[in-house]
Symmetry: C2
Subunit: 514 residues, 2 copies
C-alpha cells in the first residue's frame, strides 16, 4: 500500500480512495487520524494498492479463513469502526471522501467504497463493484456492507438481494441505475469525472483551516502483567480473568486555549489519556481474549479534569479542539462496543467527573463506596459532545424511562456524594466500608464465572436501548449474524466455503436452514 | 395446562395470565386466536399450570438442551411471534393482558409476563421474577426478554444487567423500584390488586362487542410431497431443495359484508387462505429444514381477490373484519421472517393483486414474465392494513430511497402490465417467453446451491431496511445473538451450560471472549 500526499491543495479537498484491500484498514485508520491531525490544509490522501482486484487476489481471505473465531470477529468490528470514521469525518469534520474506483472493488473494497460520500466506477467492460462474500465464501459482507446497501444507499431490497448473491458483481450503467455507484464514466473520462466531483465536494465543504499536531507513536511499557502508559494503566489479573484500567487525571499544567493545545499536541491530556485508553481497549480486544471483566478506575485531581473539560467547551468552535473532542468520542464509542464486562469502581481519590464520568456511564455497572468524600461530578462534556452509536448521550441512554432525570443531573453543581448519586440514578450499588471489599470481589468472581458468550450477547443487547441507527444496526444486527455464520460449519468447517476458498474442492453444506 | 373461561364478564375484560410454562406457547397462541374470534363478549381467559416455578422445573429446558439448533431457533422465533401477538392484541384489538404472578415467573415465564400490559407479583418472601438464562444456561433470554427490559419497560441498563445475571431474580419492592413489575402486593392483598387492575383495564378498554366465528381445525392433506389445502398448495421438490407455495383466489361466492363474514367464519377466503398459508409456512419452518428456496405463486380470478379486499376495506371499522385483517397481517409478517429464500413468479393466470400482491412484495425477488396479459394490481390492502415489523408497509419498505413512488404505485388503476411494473419498481427481472424457463431455473438452482446460513443472515439484513422497532430488534438483534450462542460449545457443547443443566456436573467454558 502506498500512501501519497499531494501538496498544495485547498482546505476541504476530499479524501480519494482507489480500489482497496480488506487488509488496509489499520493503516487507513492511521492515515485518517493523521490527515485529521497533521494537515492544517487537509491535503488529499490517495491510497492505491497497485492491484485491480484485491479482495479476491490477496492473502486476506486466507487470513479470515485461517484465523480464530475471536480474531475474525474483532477484525470485523475494527474495520467497521474504521469505515464509520470515514462517515463521521464527512458529517462532523467537513472532509468528504470520494471512492474513485478504477478497477473492481470487491467485498471489503466495496464496503469501504459505500462508506464514502460518493462513488465513481470506471466503465471499461470489466470493472465492477461486488459483494461476493455470500456466494463465494458462505459468509456476509459484514463490515457494514449489507446494512449500508439498504439503509445508507437505500437500494431496493430485491436488487440488493441480487447484488449480494452475484459473485461477479454489477458494472457500469446498471450499477448507476441500482444506485450502487453514483457515476460510471468511460475509462477516458474517468479522471475528469473524479476531478469534477472532487472539486464540487471542495466547493461544498465547510472545512476551515486548523492548527495541526504531530501524531507521534504512543509510549507504552508492555509486559506480561499489563501495559503502562503515562495516564493509563492496564493491569491484567490473568488467573482471575479480570483486568483493571485506571485513567489518571492531568498532573501538570494543561493547555488553556486552542493555541496551547496545538503546541502541546499529543501530549495534551485530552489527547494522550484517550489515545492511551484506546490502545488499552484494543490490547484487551485483540490480545487478551481470556479477560472477561474489567474494572474501570480513575484517580487524581478531579478539578484538573474539569479544567480540561472547561477549556474544551469554551473553545469548541476551534477546529483542532473539535477534532480532539471527536477523538474522545470515538474512544468512548470503542468502549461501548468492547465485548468485556465493565464495572466502574468509584472510590476515595477517584475522579469520575465530566469526560471521565463517561467511563462510568459506559460501564455495565457502577459500584460507588458509600463514604464521605467519594463523589461524581458532571461537566458540559456529559451534555452532548460524546454521543453513543444510537445518537443519544450516555445520560440520555441511561434514563430512557425518565428523560427528565437527564437535565436534573446536568444541573447538579459541584461534587455529588454517594447517596445523592444513588438517588440521581447514577449508581448501581453503593456498599459501605464494611461490605465494599466482599461485594466487589464477589461481583467480579461471579461475572467472570459466567459463559463469556452469554455475557457478550447480553451486553450487546442491553447497552443500546432506544433508537437504532445505521451504526447500531451494523454492530447489533449485521455483526451478530456474521458472528453466528463465522461459527457455522458451512463457513469454517473442514468443508466450509471460507475454509476451502481458493482450493480446487467445492464446499459442502449442511442444507438445513434454521 | 388448564384453560378456563369465566363466563359473564364485560367486553374488554383483560386476559389474565398466571405463571407460565415455556412450553405453553403453541396452546397460548391458539387460545389467543380463539378468544379473538370466538367470544362476542371477550371473556376472561385464565391459564394456570398448577406449578409455582415452571421454567426451572419442567421438561422444557431439557427440550431446549437436547433439540437441534434449527429447532431451538425456530422454537424461539415462534414464541417471539406469540408474545408479540399479546402486544398487538392490546394495541390493535383493545384486549389488554395482565400478568398476575402468584409465584415465581422465571425465564420464558417472565418473558411472557413482560409481553403483557401490566405485571402484578405477589410479595410473599419467595416469589420473584427472573431471567436466569445467562447465569444458569449460558444462553440469552431470547424470546424478547432482553429487548423488552430496556426498550419496553425501559429499565436502566445497569439494573437490567444485574437482573439478567442474577439466577434467583428480584422480589417485591425492589422489583417495583426497578420497574420489573408494576405492583407487588402482600399475598393477602394479591387478589384484590389483580381485580382492581383488571377492572381499571376494562374501564380503559375501547373493545366493542363483535360477531364471533368458530376457529375449527384446518383441513389439510399431508404427504411426502407436500400439503394440499383448499386455497393453498405446498409442493416440495426435496431433491432440488426447493418448494412451491401456490395461493388460489376465491372460487365461489364470498361474504359481501361483516354479517356474512361472521356466518362464513373460517371458510371465508380471507380467513381460510391465510390460515392455510400460515400453516404452510410453519410446515416449512419446522418440518422442511432442507428446503432453501420457495417459489411463491398465485392463481385464479384476480377480480375475486379484489372483491374480497374491497369488502374488507369497506367494513374495516367492524370488529370481526378488523380481526380478520389483523390475522392476514400476522401471516404476512410470519412470511417476512421465515428463513427461506422467497422468489415470486408472476405468470399468466396468476393473481398477485391487492392482499396477494403483498406476497410478491414480501419476496426476496419478483420474476415477471414479459408477455401480454400478465399483470399485477394494487388495492387498498397495499396502503396500510398490513404493515411489516418495522412499521412500514411493504411498498414503503421497498421505496425507502424514492418514497414518492409509493403513492404513484397506489394511484395506478387496473392491471399493471409487465413493462409498467418494471418501470414502477415492482419487479426484479422480467424475462420474455424465450428466456423465462432457463432464467428462472438457473436462479433457483443458484440460490439453492448457496450456503443456507449466509442466505439466512443476508435475508435477515436486507428485508428490514429503514426504521427499527422493538419487534425488529427482537428478530434482528436479539435472535441473531441467540442463534450465535445456540451454536457455541459454551452452551451446547458436551460440557456446555445448556447441555449440563440439571446434572451434577458444572459447565466448562472456553473463556476467550470475542
Amino acid at each position: 500500500m502506498n500512501v501519497r500526499e499531494d501538496e498544495g491543495l485547498r482546505p476541504g479537498y476530499p479524501l480519494k480512495l482507489n480500489s482497496y484491500d480488506l487488509g488496509v484498514d489499520v493503516e487507513l485508520a492511521d492515515a485518517i487520524m493523521r490527515i485529521r491531525f497533521e494537515h492544517p490544509n487537509v491535503k488529499a490522501l490517495e491510497i492505491t494498492s497497485g492491484k485491480d482486484r484485491i479482495f479476491c487476489s490477496g492473502a486476506n481471505i486466507y487470513m479470515l479463513g485461517s484465523s480464530s473465531h475471536a480474531f475474525k470477529v474483532n477484525f470485523c468490528k475494527y474495520t467497521n469502526e474504521t469505515r464509520l470514521y470515514l462517515e463521521e469525518m464527512s458529517a462532523e469534520s467537513g472532509i468528504q471522501s470520494l471512492a474513485a474506483l478504477n478497477g473492481t472493488a470487491s467485498g471489503g473494497g466495496y464496503e469501504l467504497a459505500i462508506a464514502c460520500d460518493e462513488i465513481v466506477l470506471t466503465e471499461d467492460g470489466s470493472s465492477a463493484v461486488s459483494l461476493p462474500e455470500a456466494p463465494l465464501l458462505g459468509v456476509l459482507p459484514g463490515t457494514g456492507g449489507l446494512t449500508r446497501l439498504v439503509d445508507k444507499r437505500k437500494i431496493r431490497r430485491d436488487l440488493a438481494d441480487v447484488f449480494s448473491s452475484l459473485a461477479e458483481g454489477v458494472r457500469g450503467k446498471r450499477a448507476v441505475e441500482w444506485n450502487l455507484v453514483d457515476e460510471a464514466p468511460a475509462k477516458a473520462k474517468f479522471d475528469e469525472a473524479v476531478k469534477r466531483r472532487a472539486l464540487a465536494m471542495v466547493a461544498r465543504s465547510k472545512r476551515k483551516a486548523m492548527k495541526a499536531i504531530a501524531w507521534t507513536p504512543l509510549e507504552a511499557k508492555r509486559s506480561e502483567t499489563g501495559v503502562e502508559y503515562k495516564y493509563v494503566t492496564l493491569a491484567l489479573e490473568k488467573a482471575a480473568r479480570t483486568a483493571t484500567i485506571t485513567v489518571r487525571a492531568p498532573s501538570g499544567s494543561e493547555p488553556q486555549n486552542a493555541e496551547e493545545l496545538a503546541k502541546a499536541g499529543v501530549n495534551a491530556w485530552a489527547v494522550r489519556a484517550f489515545r492511551e485508553l484506546d490502545d488499552a481497549l484494543l490490547e484487551l480486544r485483540f490480545n487478551q481474549l481470556s479477560i472477561g471483566v474489567v474494572a474501570l478506575k480513575t484517580s487524581g485531581d478531579a478539578s484538573a479534569v474539569l479544567a480540561v473539560d472547561k477549556m474544551l467547551a469554551a473553545n469548541k468552535e476551534d477546529g483542532l479542539v473539535r477534532e480532539v473532542m471527536l477523538h474522545m468520542k470515538r474512544v468512548l464509542k470503542r468502549l461501548d462496543i468492547t465485548s468485556k464486562s465493565f464495572f466502574a469502581l468509584v472510590e476515595p481519590g477517584s475522579c469520575f467527573v465530566g469526560s471521565l464520568l463517561e467511563l462510568a456511564l459506559a460501564s455495565d455497572r457502577v459500584y460507588m463506596l458509600d463514604a464521605d468524600g467519594v463523589s461524581l461530578q458532571v461537566s458540559p462534556m456529559n451534555a452532548g459532545p460524546f454521543p453513543m452509536a444510537n445518537g443519544l448521550t450516555r445520560l440520555q441512554s441511561r434514563f430512557l424511562r425518565e428523560p427528565e432525570r437527564v437535565s436534573r443531573v446536568l444541573e447538579m453543581q459541584g461534587p455529588i456524594g454517594t447517596q445523592d448519586s444513588v438517588k440521581a440514578g447514577l449508581v448501581t450499588f453503593a456498599p459501605d466500608d464494611i461490605d465494599w471489599e466482599d461485594e466487589v470481589r464477589i461481583a467480579f468472581e461471579e461475572r467472570a464465572s459466567m459463559s463469556p458468550d452469554a455475557m457478550t450477547g447480553m451486553e450487546a443487547s442491553l447497552r443500546f436501548g432506544g433508537p437504532e441507527t445505521l451504526e447500531t444496526k451494523i454492530f447489533g444486527r449485521l455483526s451478530a449474524w456474521q458472528n453466528w455464520i463465522f461459527q457455522r460449519p458451512n463457513a469454517v468447517g473442514e468443508r466450509g466455503a471460507l475454509t476451502l476458498y481458493g482450493k480446487p474442492e467445492r464446499a459442502e453444506f449442511d442444507w438445513r436452514r434454521t
